[in-house]
């Protein structure tokens, strides 16, 4: 009897909560005026971090990240900029619209971004040295003339929806590209470890072979690389990768970067992507590869 009453109460509570949630989701969007200072930005997610004042009728002054509807604005905004904007709140979602820079003079005094800074689309990739599964040193800029898809993993990652998924989906892309030799020749895959202490070339080779069905010839199209902790930090800053090591486990973000054949950043992905989407974007960049010397000057030189 007691249990039946409990079930009935739970059902009523669930119904009321559902009703309130549905009602909330159907609420019209509300707009609030926001003024604040940009502290940072993430072009990969179109978010800016803002230290804002009181938002009358909504929230007190605080520092938090907001999505900006217009990606071009994110590129324009710099840390230190004072802004005025409209905060739009619709149900659980919120974002900034009509963002205006009211004062740029703070740009000089803003904390200097780490070097190299988070690269915007169109900026050239850094020339930092990397060491691949065979112990050979190369640089990202060596791939000029090819479209390159880059991601970051650590070989001991036990989370099936993180590194194992990334490598599995890269393997799927590798298999698909292999069937079209023209695209295979014009593209490259690169997996970079953020665990340089453990992921030495032999470890990376073993890891790579598992995803290449034990065919080492696949390494000519897909490198597994590592670098020094210092250079890794710079690469992470350049591509928006975040990682923290604790007790031999690494908490990290998922980052995929598409590098255009001219050696500039073409696109970023973080969590929402499919292998088909990545492959299509890679093929699209590959169509920009000419048949002339730029391509020949690419990866072949170091093999």
């Amino acid at each position: 009897m007691h249990l039946r009453k409990l079930k009935l109460t739970s059902a009523i509570v669930l119904f009321v909560v559902s009703f309130v949630m549905v009602a909330a989701s159907q609420t019209k969007s509300k707009r609030y005026n926001l003024r604040g200072e940009v502290l940072g930005k993430d072009p990969a997610t179109n978010e800016i971090k803002v230290k804002h004042g009181d938002i009358a009728g909504f929230m007190p002054a605080m520092t938090m990240s907001f999505k900006v509807k217009n990606p071009r604005l994110v590129q324009e905004l710099q840390p230190g900029d004072k802004i005025a904007a409209e905060l739009v709140v619709a149900g659980d979602d919120y974002w900034l619209e009509n963002v205006r820079i009211t004062d740029q003079s703070g740009r000089r005094t803003a904390k200097a971004p780490a070097s190299p800074h988070l690269l915007a689309v169109g900026e050239p990739v850094p020339r930092l040295p990397l060491t691949n599964q065979d112990g050979k040193t190369f640089r990202l800029s060596d791939f000029k003339g090819k479209a390159v898809l880059v991601t970051f993993i650590y070989t001991r990652c036990p989370m099936p929806t993180f590194c194992p998924r990334l490598s599995s989906q890269f393997a799927r892309i590798h298999d698909a590209l292999k069937k079209t030799p023209d695209y295979y020749r014009k593209t490259h895959l690169l997996t970079i470890s953020f665990d340089p202490k453990y992921d030495k070339p032999p470890v990376l080779r073993k890891y790579g072979l598992a995803y290449l069905d034990n065919d080492p010839s696949g390494f000519a199209h897909w490198d597994f690389a590592s670098t020094t902790p210092g250079d890794l930090r710079q690469l992470a800053n350049a591509f928006g990768l975040e990682y923290i090591e604790e007790d031999n486990q690494i908490s990290h973000t998922m980052n995929i970067v598409l590098i255009a054949p001219d050696g500039t950043v073409a696109r970023y992905w973080s969590t929402k992507w499919t292998a088909a989407e990545l492959e299509n974007a890679l093929r699209e960049q590959a169509t920009k590869v000419g048949t002339g010397s730029a391509e020949a000057a690419g990866r072949k030189d170091r093999r």
């Binding site: 007691h2 409990l6 001991r156 099936p160 194992p164 599995s168 598992a210 995803y211 031999n248």
Partner: protein, 118 residues
């Protein structure tokens, strides 16, 4: 089981679950028997892959029921304690290595638990 004791069991389960989610080190030495400790380690480190379904993975991780009842492991190596220990520590194929992440005792207890799987 009465409603009240059912609620108590549910409550204890919830606390244990929340503790695990919060990353509490509940896999300590408080478990006297290795099998129970091994089971807890299995849930923390192995079950996600070996008992879950992940179509995005290159190769589906094998289910481990009856692991030691076969003469060979899913990879073809002999089903011995030494081979299972080696697989846990060094990884195998797309299975990650648990090197430096599990202690000797952890691996011992895990193998003991794996032996009980039917």
């Amino acid at each position: 089981m009465s409603g009240r004791s059912r609620t108590a069991v549910f409550g204890l389960g919830l606390i244990a679950g929340l503790a695990a989610l919060a990353g509490c080190s509940w896999v300590g030495d408080r478990f006297a028997d290795h099998e129970t400790r091994g089971r807890a380690l299995f849930v923390l480190h192995c079950a996600d892959c070996h008992e879950g379904t992940y179509p995005d993975l290159r190769k589906p991780p094998p289910k481990l029921g009856g692991l030691f009842q076969s003469r060979t492991l899913p990879g073809g190596a002999p089903a011995t304690d030494a081979q299972v220990r080696k697989t846990i520590i060094e990884g195998r194929g797309t299975m990650p290595a648990f090197d430096q992440r599990l202690s000797e005792k952890d691996v011992d207890d895990l193998v003991k638990y794996l032996r009980t799987l039917k």
